[in-house]
């Protein structure tokens, strides 16, 4: 049975200063309307593309969205920032209305869009549970019957009669989430709540989400966290520029998204002849390539180098730095490479699997003489992404550290 049916949904936003000229726009609109003409501001609407400077002040944040959700399904929605995910959720949770199209819903929707909405700092935890619960649509008696459960879930029993302004931010979030988690709606919308709280709390949240879906209720989960989407969702939707770019199983959707992302990376660079190649009169780069092109953290990664050595030195000390997105050098490595046929030099360096953390990396090259005189340096020749794998445990956040080696653990009883 379908519980949500989204049909031809459009949402238009006005960019820039909204208040300027609205009276004149309104009058113009009205003037067109009474003559039976189209809205003059709807025609000139550009598409949702932030990089390109649009010609009009109006954009479509959502463009012709169609999908439906079945009962008990866990649907993941992914996409880059500004792809329209949040706008879609706002319309689903009735915070704002669509410009065109309809959404049909069966059952009560509750969203964990922003936990703690309506919390008043001067009120105690107890008072806020009731207030927040009522804002989220519960009646007083519903809240009263779940009150003990909520308090237990939040883990702030001791401070329940203290104003929440004295709470630590962690306690605050836990209490707020506890209220939202006990809503028991037919359809639950979860948006990036995994970003807050510690690992233990995250586990609770995801556990709650699983409970909800196990009880045959529907969950819509919006996240940047591809691993969590893959592990928790059955179906996925990829949003791009206000439209649906892909719809399928969660695995397929995540894969598709990674492919789109990977297309913007440049995992190999190659030149046929020295004349076109990067470099100087002494050193010319032939190729740098990463294999596999879309590695997972568990994969062994091979980086192939080849270059022409036109210097007098029969061998070159080639070094590279692996640089992450924050422009930090994760590590550097180098090796002496002898001249081959036609001055060509080849080498392959292997990074073992289960060493690197997930993320986007680029490679910077240094060519030195054997007595370590720098002949040439080439910044960010290639870039590639190392993707995270599904995990068996419940924490799906980014694991800290520049590297993420798999180390040996020895567990023996004392």
């Amino acid at each position: 049975m379908q519980v949500i049916k989204v049909e031809n949904l459009f949402k238009q936003y006005q960019l820039g200063q909204v208040s300027t000229g609205t009276i004149s726009h309104d009058l113009n609109r009205w003037f067109h309307k009474i003559r039976g003409k189209e809205d003059p501001y709807e025609i000139i609407t550009g598409e949702n593309a932030r990089e390109e400077k649009g010609t009009s002040n109006y954009i479509w944040a959502l463009k012709d969205i169609n999908f439906d959700v079945k009962q008990g399904e866990v649907l993941g929605i992914i996409g880059r920032n500004g792809a329209g995910k949040s706008t879609l959720l706002k319309i689903l949770s009735k915070v704002t209305a669509p410009t065109k199209g309809t959404i049909k819903i069966r059952g009560r929707i509750a969203s964990l869009l922003e936990v703690g909405t309506g919390f008043h700092p001067e009120l105690t935890g107890r008072e806020n549970i009731f207030l927040n619960g009522a804002i989220l649509g519960m009646t007083k008696s519903e809240i009263r019957s779940k009150f003990d459960e909520i308090v237990a879930f939040s883990g702030v029993e001791k401070y329940i009669d203290t104003p929440v302004k004295r709470y630590s931010s962690g306690m605050y979030v836990r209490l707020a989430f506890a209220v939202a988690a006990h809503l028991e709606p037919e359809i639950l919308i979860v948006d990036e709540v995994l970003a807050v709280g510690d690992a233990e709390f995250q586990k609770k949240c995801l556990g709650k989400m699983k409970d909800v879906s196990n009880q045959g209720r529907t969950v819509i989960f919006v996240s940047h966290n591809l691993v969590a989407v893959k592990s928790l969702c059955q179906r996925g939707i990829l949003m791009e520029r206000g439209g649906i770019a892909f719809m399928g199983s969660a695995d397929e959707t995540v894969e598709h998204y990674m492919k789109v992302n990977a297309a913007q990376l440049n995992p190999s660079i190659s030149f046929e002849y020295p004349v076109d190649a990067l470099g100087n009169e002494l050193i010319k780069l032939k190729t740098v390539s990463v294999e596999p092109t879309n590695p997972f953290i568990t994969d062994e990664i091979s980086i192939h180098f080849s270059f022409w050595n036109f210097s007098e030195d029969p061998s070159i000390f080639l070094a590279f730095d692996l640089i992450d997105l924050h422009e930090e050098v994760v590590f550097g490595s180098g090796f002496k490479i002898d001249k081959g046929i036609d001055n060509l030099c080849h080498a392959t360096c292997t990074i073992p699997g289960d060493l690197m953390n997930d993320g986007v990396y680029s490679i910077e090259l240094y060519f030195n003489t054997s007595d370590m005189r720098l002949l040439l340096s080439l910044p960010s020749t290639v870039s590639f992404e190392i993707a995270d794998k599904e995990r068996s445990y419940a924490y799906f956040g980014k694991i800290n550290g520049a590297v993420r080696p798999k180390l040996h653990w020895n567990i023996k009883p004392q």
């Binding site: 319309i91 669509p98 059952g107 008043h120 207030l131 104003p163």
Partner: protein, 284 residues
Amino acid sequence: MKSSDDSWTEIIKPKRGWLDINLQEIWRYRDLIILFVRRDFVSIYKQTILGPLWLFIQPLFTTFIFYFVFNQIAKISTEGVDPILFYLSGITLWNYFSDCFSKTSNTFVANASIFGKVYFPRLTTPISIVISNLIKLGIQVILFVMIAFYQVTFNNASININSSILMLPLLILLMAIMGLGMGILFSALTTKYRDLSFLLTFGIQLLMYATPIIYPLSFTSGKLHQVLSYNPITPIIENFRYSFFGIGTFDLVGLIYSTIFSISVLFIGILFFNKVENKFMDTV
């Protein structure tokens, strides 16, 4: 698979009709209204030293100022009524109206952050404001009764309560409806045209002088008298003074006029509020 259209519990559509008002939903959220009232009341005085005593201090100080300026200096007649009681009664009633009006008039702007995240019937917010002000009024009425008792006992002030005092709940209801109606109408308009909020602040102030608060209606005459009679709050104040002090006359026509005005303005207010409700997040 069953997907007949009538089994959908909710349909989200782009535009709302003018008369598409869901009062049942507001009733379903009545617990929220009560909790909002509680929140407003608890939180406002929680960090103050004098706490709810402010509810007494405000009208008392204003009354003293009015007494010195308008009674002692300007020598405006109060038609034989004890001036302290005359001003205090006017201020108490007027404050209720002006609080209802001004505090509901920025509903959307003041609650933008919460309205932007969760849906609940937006009308619950202004309704709760009117109710929490009603509690405040109740406390101030007690103050008025105490002061009246004191003035009668020790200062020989005369009051003349008659049976029309039973109309008091109606008078208060009318002011609540009028304040709410005007407030939500303004709140709907200010989401688009912010300039209106500036107009409102001194507009309410000016309106007070156009209402017989510091002077009795009988003090005016001719054209001015006629203009003041068009003010829909005038009959409410006048009727209260008639029922409590016995001055003036019972003005039934004025009361009917006020009632019609209140209900119309509330109706128009709800229409506009409802129309703006589901779109305002894009303009705020």
